[in-house]
Structure formats: C-alpha cells, structure tokens
Amino acid sequence: MMDWEQQLKLQAYLDDELSAADRRRVEAWLARDSEAVALLAELRRTHMALAVGERDHQLPESREFYWSQIERGIRSAERTPTAPERSSWWAAWRRLVIPLGAMAAVVLAGILTVSQFNPAPGRESEMTLADSDAFTYRDYAGGMTLVWLSYPAESESSLSSLVDTLD
C-alpha cells in the first residue's frame, strides 16, 4: 500500500516536477510496483482527458452591452480622483489649523511651565535689555511674560535725530 507521500511523488512525476534523481527513483519503483503503475495510469488518463480542453462558455451579453458596462466602470473610476478635490478645502483648512494648533500648544505649555516654577507669587519684574529697545515684563503671579519692542527703536530715532542735528 502506497503512503501519502509516495502518491504525491507519483503525481509530481507525471507533472514533471521532480528532480532528475527523484525521477530515476520513481521509475525504479514503478518497475516493481503494479499498484503504482495503475495509479499513475489513472492520473495520466485524467490529465489526457483534460487536455482536450474546456467547454466553451459563451458570453451571454452582446458585445455592445458588455463594453458599455466596462466603459461606464472606467469613466466612473476616472471620476473618482475628483473626490479629493472636493474635499481640498478641508485639507487646506487642516494644513492651516495643525501648525496653529501646534503653536498654541507650545505657548500654553510655556505658560504652564512658567506658572509651575513661579518663585514668588505676586512678584513682578521689569527688565530692559542693554543696547536694545526690548522690554520684558514678567508677572509671576499671573504666570505671564510680555516682551515688547518699540518700533522704530527709540535708540534708532534718537540716533537719527542726532544725525539730523549734525547736518
């Protein structure tokens, strides 16, 4: 009695899917096993019967009708890319909102950080940066920092008035 692997090997022999060495082994086995020969003959008959070909299955629709449906499908698929265009305002909106949201989040995080490290509630400080017209105002109680720049810069305007005087 042939085992499962032998049966499959016999089929692979028929289908020419074996290596040369395996083919020789199967041929030697076939020379001494009539059961294997009978099974191979059955597999070969089925293979030969199928070689006659398939029954024709005719298209049940006319050429025009069949093509018209394909054409409609093609046109409809080509229209599909317009869908993102319709929603492009949404994409543009998202492109605008996402960076703004990120900036807002950074500012909020900054405010929260400042309020967390509030060293002395109620203490205010004001500072003028040397050689510039930038003023920084920090309200520790409110957790708020303001920086303002005078424009035109006060130093620049005084410089220009000096130049005017020299002229």
């Binding site: 499962w4 049966q7 499959l8 089929q11 692979a12 289908d15 899917e17 059961e35 009978a38 099974l39 003959a41 059955e42 597999l43 008959r45 089925t46 293979h47 019967a49 199928l50 070689a51 006659v52 070909g53 398939e54 029954r55 024709d56 299955h57 005719q58 298209l59 049940p60 629709e61 050429r63 069949y66 093509w67 449906q69 394909i70 054409e71 499908g73 093609i74 698929a77």
Partner: protein
Amino acid sequence: MKTERASSALADDALVRAAQAGDLQAFEELVARHRDKIYARAYSMMRNEEDAMDLSQEAWIKGWQRLNQFQGDSSFATWMTRIVINLCLDAIRRQKRQRAESIEEMDEDSGGVERHMPVVTVNPTERLERAELRARIDEAMDKLSPAHRTVLILHEFENMEYKLIAQTMRCSIGTVMSRLFYARRKLAALLADLKPAKPS
C-alpha cells in the same frame, strides 16, 4: 502558422501601446478580441453567469487602470487572465468567509477518501467525441469544490507549475499537490460515474 501567430501578437502589442497612451478605442478592440476567453475563465471558476459577467468586467476595468504595469513579459491575454483569476480567487475567499469557512483550510480533511479510493482502471472517456468529453468534464468540474476546481484549472488549463499556483492561491506547494491529487482522483471517479450525456 508561426507568421500568423506573430502578426496577431504584434497587433495586440500595438493596441496595448495605443491603449497605454490613453486610447480607449484601442482598449475596446482588445476587449472584443479576448472577452470570451476572460469570461470563460471567470465562469469556469465561479460556475455562475452573473458572477462571471461581473468579475470579467471588473477585470477589464482593472486591466485598463493597470495597463502601464503591463511590460509584455507574457501575452496580453495571459496578463488579463491572471487578473481575472485573482479577482475570482478573491470572490471565492469572500464567499467562503461568508459561510465561515476558509479556502485555505477547506477540503484537505475531506480528502482522505481519495487517498484510499480504488483506482479507476477503465477509460470512461475513451469513445467520446471531443464536444461530449468537454461537456462531461464540465459537468464533473461542477461537482468539485472551488479549491479543487481552481487548482485543476490553473494546472491543466493555464499550465501553471506548482510554485506559481501556490503563489496565486496563497498556499504552500504541499497544499497545491494534495489539492491537485484530490481533484484528479475525484474527477476520475466522477467521469467514471457519469451517465451518458444527453444529446444536444
């Protein structure tokens, strides 16, 4: 004969090139030439006219969309046949999922019967005319499970090797071999059992 084949292949190639450039009329001509073959393959796998119509038309739409991927490694008809086969396999998988089964695991367990089936020693198709033999094979194919039928179609009619069938059906070569074995043995038994076909 060879010249005729070559010229028809060239004509297809020219149509494909035109279609690749966006010529829908050229594509319509390709559809007209190969629609019967594509429909027949869909029908042989699905065994249902409606499914075969839908899937073959879907294959043509996909063919148009992917036309630029066609490099001419095979004939255009072969390329289109691969598309329709893949669509049919997807449809069979969907149908099986709906029935809470899987094409990958089906039928192997029930194949034990074929391992011990007595060998058919007579040739039941010996004296049949070609048309009658085709009709009988078709009738027998109808009785096979989709997985067995598919592997038989891919191997015997599409001339695919085990490895390519395994890739197409997304299973192992071992599974292909066992399915093919079951399918052949079942088909042999079915052909032996079939009553004479009705005269057409």
